[in-house]
């Protein structure tokens, strides 16, 4: 297993170098000049050129990229043009809030999605199943900002049960996590339902039922473990996605996560932050997938690590 992890991490390094190259070139293609952005409108042409030289932006693209890559391999993501701070510091400062929201969102979407999906599968074709499928469809299609503002308006502004946005206590976390949890829950419910239905059709379930196993026992002991595999893979993906930030929800609730940082950087063409967040997000997606693949054999012993 250790050999497997090492091999996967080795692959990840190449993936990350590839991603950094693509991001760097794409950002370079933006027809905006970052130096003029830094220098502001009152700068003399000499000031502009001097800043360009100091930042090494007068070098050809490949030299700039190699320089960036060299720093990156030493863990240096560069300095933000606008915020004038180390990009690594900025991302690190956003990490606690990002992780907190990620944990809350994944917990809620699993709770909502799995219970709804299992229940729907066990009631297949009946009104409860239909109602859950309609609700999950609505949840999947609803735009995040609509749900976000709706929850905020009803539960924070009108009812006053929760603070109006912000970060700090567990109370602050509830609404943003619920917004993400409801929407993600819709996906999980649909996925869980179809996986369960698939499993419930298998011969061994019929056998178990014939042996007189109870409904609960069949659902949770015999079926759930086999139906859970796609869910695990999806949680792995979710970790990666949430690590790169829940941009919309973070904006609505003023949640100081990585998504908010990225969104502000995009609006201000703060290239080092844009590239830095992209790379961190890529790392998170690679690690999330790896984690899901590592957990899979424990759930389904038929899956083995290939040497």
């Amino acid at each position: 297993m250790i050999g497997y992890i090492a091999r996967r991490l080795g692959q990840a390094v190449f993936i990350l170098i590839g991603i950094s190259l693509v991001t760097y070139v794409l950002v370079y293609l933006i027809p905006a000049d970052p130096v003029r952005q830094i220098a502001g409108r009152s700068a003399t042409p000499e000031t502009v050129e001097s800043i360009r030289r100091q930042l090494g932006l007068d070098l050809p693209l490949w030299q700039q990229y190699l320089r960036y890559l060299g720093d990156l391999l030493q863990g240096d993501l560069g300095r933000s043009y606008i915020q004038k701070t180390e990009v690594a510091t900025l991302i690190a400062s956003r990490l606690p809030a990002t992780l907190e929201l990620m944990a809350g969102a994944i917990l809620l979407e699993l709770l909502i999605g799995l219970s709804a999906g299992i229940y729907a599968a066990s009631r297949r074709g009946r009104p409860a199943d239909r109602a859950i499928m309609v609700a999950s469809f609505a949840a999947v299609s609803a735009p995040q900002f609509v749900v976000g503002i709706l929850l905020l308006y009803v539960f924070a502004v009108q009812l006053g049960w929760f603070p109006i946005g912000g970060y700090g206590t567990l109370w602050h976390l509830v609404l943003p996590a619920l917004t993400l949890g409801l929407l993600g829950g819709g996906w999980y419910a649909r996925m869980m339902r179809s996986a369960m239905i698939e499993v419930l059709r298998q011969d061994y379930i019929v056998t178990a039922r014939a042996k007189g196993a109870g409904r609960f026992r069949i659902l949770f002991v015999h079926a759930l473990r086999n139906a859970a595999l796609p869910v695990v893979a999806m949680v792995g993906l979710d970790i990666g996605i949430f690590m790169s930030g829940a941009v919309v929800v973070e904006s609505v609730y003023g949640w100081p996560g990585i998504g908010q940082l990225a969104w502000q950087a995009i609006q201000r063409v703060d290239i080092p932050i844009i590239v830095g967040v992209t790379i961190v997000a890529a790392v998170a997606i690679v690690l999330g997938n790896l984690l899901a693949d590592l957990v899979a054999p424990f759930i389904d012993p038929r899956i083995k690590f290939r040497r």
Binding site: P31, R36, A43, T47, I51, Y253
Partner: protein, 538 residues
């Protein structure tokens, strides 16, 4: 030299609370919200409207403005004198002013701070403001280590010699880039000084949690009696303007740093409960349509005049819910030199069509209009597009991100027309010359410059230089008159179609007190942080 004491006293008395009101209380805390994190609080580097005013509360310069006005007064300087030849300013420093680290401010700090802003390593966007100081080129090119024009005969005297007379120089001494910083702290923090600012200002930085909040607390050693009035200001960042408004209405927030969200503007202004919490004021802003005078068809002055006649400014102002007043000249009404009697080009499509025919474009012409992609600018650009179509100018819209529009404007033959919204000129300091050089003078008509109409009238450049050499305070009126004439001459050549001057609308909580002028201060945005106070139990 005129004395400043009398004028200051007069201005302060104008600002004082209405007769009979109790003296404002000192103390309390105010909460200000912003969408974006604060970039830097280094006075040599910070140059956006969000940190501009915050820096003014943490640091001081030799000069400042009377709160709520554009009138210059000495600040760190107690007094100053100008030599006969108009080239040497001698500033006498106030004694006993202390940096937040406890050390007393000395003349050497002023010299160090200005030289730091000019030095290329600092990467200050404001270095160019100091170009009239003797020795500027030597320092920027690396030939010298200091500005030969700044000397410090003793600890409380700063002598600044200019290489040419500069009537705007005292404004430059009030601009953030000139503010005093302590060398030992700058060297201690290096590039991170902007996150660990130490100045002499009314407030000092107590806390900065990246992405979440900043806290300013009263500087107990501040030299100005009775200021600041608040004990603390908490800046909460990362707050959507819409959510911030809801919080203000619930009493959790005192000032909306990003202003009233446009979607809610009319609702608030029509709501009797909230209307009175909004203070309206002018600002030193002009939104304009720049026409590139080196590109067809705008190389023809008749076409440019036709465009000026074609634009329905009232309709455009309706698009932005009336948050502006129509413009007919480059200078905004609050700027000295604005001519209230100038009539400008009236909205007259028939006349515009006539001019187009005279210019030889009776059959119309195809061109492009660049605009920034954030609301309401695309909608404004569409309105302009329709107005121009009515007189035969078929403009294709190029709606792009801010940086891309700015890049196109800085190229000589890229953008025939640019709507300036979202990037429009807001003055760095309240003097008409600041509306000329970079955006209408020959100096700005260079690759990468901000003169997007590439208008370069050497005769006017000479007049501008003449006006800025009129340093004698007795000639101040005459100088402003000359500027007024320059801007009206520009309107004859019509490189711009001025469209509107944005108004400011500051929304505040019920708790906040202070004269209205403090909430729409022409130099401090959104409010003058040192002057506002909490109304106590009234």
């Amino acid at each position: 030299m005129r004395t400043f004491l009398t004028t200051t006293a007069l201005a302060l008395s104008l600002l004082a609370a209405p007769a009979g009101a109790a003296e404002p209380t000192q103390g309390g805390e105010m909460i200000v919200t912003y969408k974006d994190d604060v970039s830097t609080l280094d006075p040599a580097i910070g140059y956006d409207w969000q940190n501009w005013s915050m820096i003014k509360s943490l640091f001081d310069g030799l000069m400042d403005y009377v709160p709520g006005t554009t009138e210059l007064v000495p600040d760190l300087a107690e007094s100053y004198e100008l030599s006969e030849d108009g080239l040497t300013y001698t500033f006498k420093l106030r004694k006993g002013v202390k940096f937040h680290n406890g050390r007393e401010l000395e003349a050497a700090d002023i010299k160090y701070s200005i030289e730091r802003a000019v030095r290329p390593e600092t990467q200050s966007p404001g270095a160019g403001f100091f170009a009239s100081i003797e020795g500027f080129e030597a320092l920027t090119s690396g030939a010298a280590e200091e500005l030969s024009g700044i000397t410090t005969p003793d600890d409380y005297t700063v002598k600044i010699t200019l290489s040419r007379p500069d009537a705007t120089f005292l404004h430059v001494m009030a601009i953030n880039f000139s503010f005093a910083v302590p060398r030992e702290e700058v060297e201690k923090y290096g590039q991170d000084f902007g996150k660990n600012p130490v100045g002499t200002g009314a407030f000092r930085l107590a806390e900065w949690t990246l992405g979440q909040r900043l806290v300013f607390e009263r500087n107990p050693d501040y030299y100005k009696e009775g200021r600041p009035r608040l004990d603390r200001i908490v800046f909460e960042v990362g707050q959507e303007p819409l959510v911030a408004l809801l919080r203000l209405q619930r009493g959790e927030v005192d000032i909306l740093g990003d202003g009233i969200p446009p979607a809610k503007f009319l609702e608030i202004m029509n709501d009797p409960e909230w209307r009175d919490n909004v203070v309206e004021g002018g600002q030193l802003h002009t939104g304009y349509l720049a026409m590139n005078v080196t590109m067809k068809p705008f190389d023809n002055v008749l076409v440019r005049r036709a465009v000026n006649h074609a634009i329905n400014k009232d309709r455009i102002i309706r698009i932005i819910n009336g948050r502006a007043v129509p413009a007919n000249q480059p200078l905004p009404p609050a700027m000295p030199g604005h001519d209230p009697n100038y009539e400008g080009y009236a909205f007259d499509p028939e006349k515009a069509k006539q001019l187009m025919a005279e210019a030889g474009y009776a059959d119309g012409v195809d061109t492009e209009l660049y605009a920034m992609n954030t609301d309401p600018n695309p909608r404004i650009a569409q309105a302009i597009q329709q107005d121009l179509a009515a007189i035969g100018i078929r403009a294709e819209l190029q709606v792009l991100a801010q940086a891309n529009v700015i890049a196109a404007g800085g190229e000589k033959d890229a953008a025939p027309m640019i709507w300036s919204g979202g990037m429009a000129w807001i003055a760095d300091f309240p003097d008409p010359s600041n509306f000329y050089g970079p955006i209408l003078g020959c100096g700005g008509a260079v690759p990468g410059g901000w003169n997007w109409s590439w208008y370069c009238n050497e005769e006017l450049d000479a007049l501008a230089a003449e006006a800025d050499a009129m340093v004698d305070p007795a000639k101040a009126e005459e100088r402003i008159d000359l500027w007024r004439r320059i801007f009206l001459r520009i309107m004859d050549d019509a490189p711009w179609a001025p469209v509107f001057h944005e108004q400011r609308f500051t929304m505040k909580s019920d708790r906040l007190g202070g004269p209205d002028a403090i909430f729409v201060d022409p130099v401090h945005i959104p409010v003058h942080y040192d002057e506002v106070y909490i109304e106590d139990g009234q």
